[in-house]
């Protein structure tokens, strides 16, 4: 579930619930941030502040972890997140053409979100399904052997 609204009270509830689930020790910081990121869609400033209080960690440390890992985002993301595998096996199998077409279709570049808030486009490191490259993942759906011409059809499945 992705919470559209970012009301402070809603977020606080999520944070409390997740911290309770994992426990408030330092080594649970990454699982906690991962889970909140999944539930809220990204990590707003307020979250970092709340987590830092609950785990009794300086906010700077929480921020430094939140910005280090690719899957954690401190910026809002679109309703659908497109992950494009930028690894060598996909590249060799024609990934570059797919990647260029993808940016053209959405009119955004890597790491950006469309103005209407529908799509975010990010690159991801190897997903380990190299046998069917090039690979595009939209939300949790994986598409293999993608050609540039298939993209409009694939994208049309998402509202």
């Amino acid at each position: 579930m992705v919470l559209g609204a970012t009301h402070r009270s809603d977020i606080e509830e999520v944070v409390n619930e997740v911290v309770q689930q994992y426990g408030s020790s330092r080594d649970e910081l990454i699982p906690i941030l991962n889970e909140i990121n999944r539930k809220v869609g990204f990590l707003p400033n307020g979250v970092l502040e709340m987590v830092s209080k609950q785990l009794k960690l300086p906010q700077s440390k929480v921020l430094s972890v939140a910005t280090f890992y690719q899957m954690l985002s401190t910026k809002p993301r679109g309703r659908h997140v497109i992950q494009f595998c930028e690894s060598a096996p996909c590249h060799v199998a024609g990934g570059r053409q797919v990647w260029e077409r993808l940016q053209e279709e959405l009119n955004i570049k890597a790491g950006e979100t469309t103005e209407d808030g529908k799509w975010s486009l990010i690159t991801v490191s190897c997903l380990g399904v190299c046998g069917v490259g090039p690979v595009v993942v939209i939300d949790e759906d994986l598409y293999g052997n993608v050609t540039p011409d298939q993209l409009p059809e694939i994208l049309s499945h998402y509202s």
């Binding site: 910081l29 699982p31 972890v65 060598a88 380990g128 190299c130």
Partner: protein, 594 residues
């Protein structure tokens, strides 16, 4: 522990029960007693084997792995007599399963030996009983009841097993260092952060045979004296994490994990930690920082993890494949394992074969096999009958190996002497239409992006290399760039903190070593011999072949093509953006690149 020569797994999910699974089971038990086979054949209940509507009641007989389906009580006497007494498979009861093509693995190909992958695709990873039926946890039983920790370490040492994560450090030696550290608690860590692009061997093992890894880790824990372990798995592998968690839960229920394992006074438990997308976390010290909840930045070594690792305590960290092979060594003996491979590199190794090769997917071969055998015998040769140009071994920190070194045997030392590494086992085959400068740039783009930024040589150096490669590909290469690249590579390798920086220059260095003329063509002749780098190529209409059908002109996004209908067309190189669409749409092969 009684020893059964055969194990029968009966599916007792609700659907099969409704169809009389328990009656079949009782009949089987009675018949076995009647034939005097109840001491030799063990009956176990399991969850579903196949599709119950199609097959129930059904059972699986191990070690043969025969799946009998649609059984009724009346079939049992005949089945017992034929299969268990006379040793003949009863074909009329064998389940006709729809064959699901396993493109990743498939049947073993020529020259393959499967040890790590032996259970993959054969057993249900979510059912511990199927693993047990394949002699699972028998090695653990032997270790805990017959061997001292020192014995275990000695057996692993004499098997010659070396770390399958890439560096190839002898596993037994690593364990003995961790054992020798006095401080407690100690930790056993499994590195399942398989981030190398093109490498998915570990993912497959975790998803298909998780208990082999769990069992290997328990044995390691016993050997070094640890009571807590972690599997650090990357977030890009959600299914592997899920399967592992199920496996750990089941192992706990069966008494293989937790307090007093198998009734001994040895206790050990295991937890899965998920990454959050950072390639550098595959580096062992960075991985431990990440488990601790910090940024995944490497630490200087020494102190090595065996002395001060996770939470500053002695830790043993090995790769998925290393742990997965341990139970087999303990079961079949170190001599057996050491009988495969070369003098210094024993056993088998899994590889992920990708790129321009006919059979892509996972393979497991004895070390010492040549690259030529892998590409042409196991891999079936180059796709589309093109020529071979290079093979990249060892992931983004590995090197490119050219045709003249195809007969190089694959072992840790030989690969290092060619300027590459074993790495975790990614093999990317490139055909003769690949531009080596472009590929070198591609790998550098990856490593500079994944550099964690802690040390200057890696953070700044990889960036500088990338800038130089970019300008060479764009046609702005300068005299002296090759020498500058060589100097940078040397210095980054020498001065970086961890394996990422120390390995990052390898692709560029080997490309320069084996394909120098391509760099020279880019820089001095402003030409890309493989016709890949956009700024260095020109699309041209072959006048004699052009029929003037106007397809190219209609498809050109920048209207760079002109010409009358039924007259040869012309591409204006100043307008052309070299997108290649005209060449794709031309039905007469009348457009080529010069």
């Amino acid at each position: 522990m009684p020893f059964f020569r055969s194990h029968v797994l009966i599916s007792v999910d609700p659907e099969c029960l409704k169809r009389g699974a328990h009656e079949v089971m009782d009949a089987l038990q009675d018949e076995l007693v009647q034939q005097g086979l109840n001491e030799e054949v063990q009956i176990l209940e399991t969850s579903r084997i196949g599709d119950p509507v199609q097959f129930g009641p059904d059972l699986m007989v191990y070690p043969e792995g025969v799946h009998y389906a649609n059984l009724s009580v009346d079939d049992i006497p005949f089945l017992v007599e034929e299969h268990f007494l006379k040793g003949r498979v009863v074909n009329k009861f064998v389940a006709q399963e729809s064959i699901i093509a396993d493109e990743e693995l498939g049947m073993p190909k020529a020259k393959e030996i499967r040890i790590v992958l032996r259970n993959c695709g054969k057993i249900d990873p979510n059912n511990i009983e199927e693993y047990i039926a394949e002699d699972g946890y028998m090695a653990l039983g032997r270790v805990l009841t017959e061997l001292s920790p020192e014995d275990v370490i000695n057996e692993v040492l004499s098997s010659g097993l070396r770390g399958r994560g890439g560096a190839g450090f002898p596993t037994g030696k690593k364990w003995s260092f961790a054992r020798a550290s006095a401080s407690t608690p100690k930790y056993v860590i499994c590195n399942a952060d398989e981030g190398d692009p093109g490498a998915f061997m570990n993912r497959r093992v975790l998803e298909s045979d998780p208990h082999a890894v769990v069992e290997g880790m328990i044995i390691a824990a016993y050997a070094i004296g640890s009571s807590q372990g972690y599997v650090y798995c990357r977030a890009e592998y959600p299914l592997a994490v899920k399967t592992l968690n199920i496996a750990i839960q089941q192992a706990r229920e069966f008494g293989f994990l937790g307090k007093n394992i198998m009734g001994t006074d040895f206790s050990f438990d295991l937890e899965v930690r998920m990454g959050a997308g950072a390639f550098v976390c595959g580096e062992e010290t960075a991985l431990m920082s990440s488990i601790e909840g910090k940024r995944g930045e490497p630490r200087p070594r020494p102190p090595f993890p065996a002395v001060r690792g996770l939470f500053m305590q002695p830790s043993n960290i090995n790769n998925v494949e290393t742990y997965a092979v341990v139970p087999q060594i303990m079961l079949r003996g170190p001599e057996w394992y050491a009988s495969m491979g070369t003098e210094k590199s024993k056993g088998t190794k899994t590889f992920a074969l990708a790129g321009d090769v006919k059979n892509t997917g996972l393979i497991e071969v004895p070390l010492g096999i040549t690259l030529r055998e892998i590409i042409f015998d196991v891999g079936g040769g180059i796709k589309d009958n093109k020529g071979f140009k290079a093979i990249q071994t060892g992931g983004p920190m590995g090197g490119m190996i050219p045709t003249k070194l195809l007969d190089l045997p694959i072992d840790y030392e030989s690969l290092a002497s060619a300027g590459s590494i074993m790495g975790s086992g990614g093999l990317i085959v490139m055909d003769d239409e690949t531009c080596m400068v472009d590929i070198a740039r591609f790998f550098m783009d990856f490593t500079q992006d994944e550099s964690c930024g802690k040390c200057v040589p890696c953070r700044v150096g990889t960036r500088r290399i990338l800038e130089i490669l970019n300008r060479i590909c764009e046609g702005n290469g300068r005299d002296g760039d090759i020498e500058l690249l060589e100097k940078l590579c040397y210095e980054i390798k020498r001065d970086s903190l961890c394996g990422l920086g120390q390995g990052a220059p390898n692709p560029v260095e080997t490309a320069l070593k084996y394909f120098r003329e391509e760099f020279e063509a880019h820089i001095y002749e402003k030409r890309c011999p493989a016709k890949v780098c956009r700024n260095l190529i020109t699309y041209e209409v072959i006048t004699d072949a052009c029929t003037g059908c106007t397809v190219c002109a209609r498809n050109c996004p920048v209207t760079a093509i002109s010409g009358e209908r039924r007259q040869p067309h012309l591409i204006d190189p100043d307008i052309c953006i070299r997108c290649g669409i005209c060449m794709q749409v031309c039905n007469f092969n009348a457009i080529h690149i010069i």
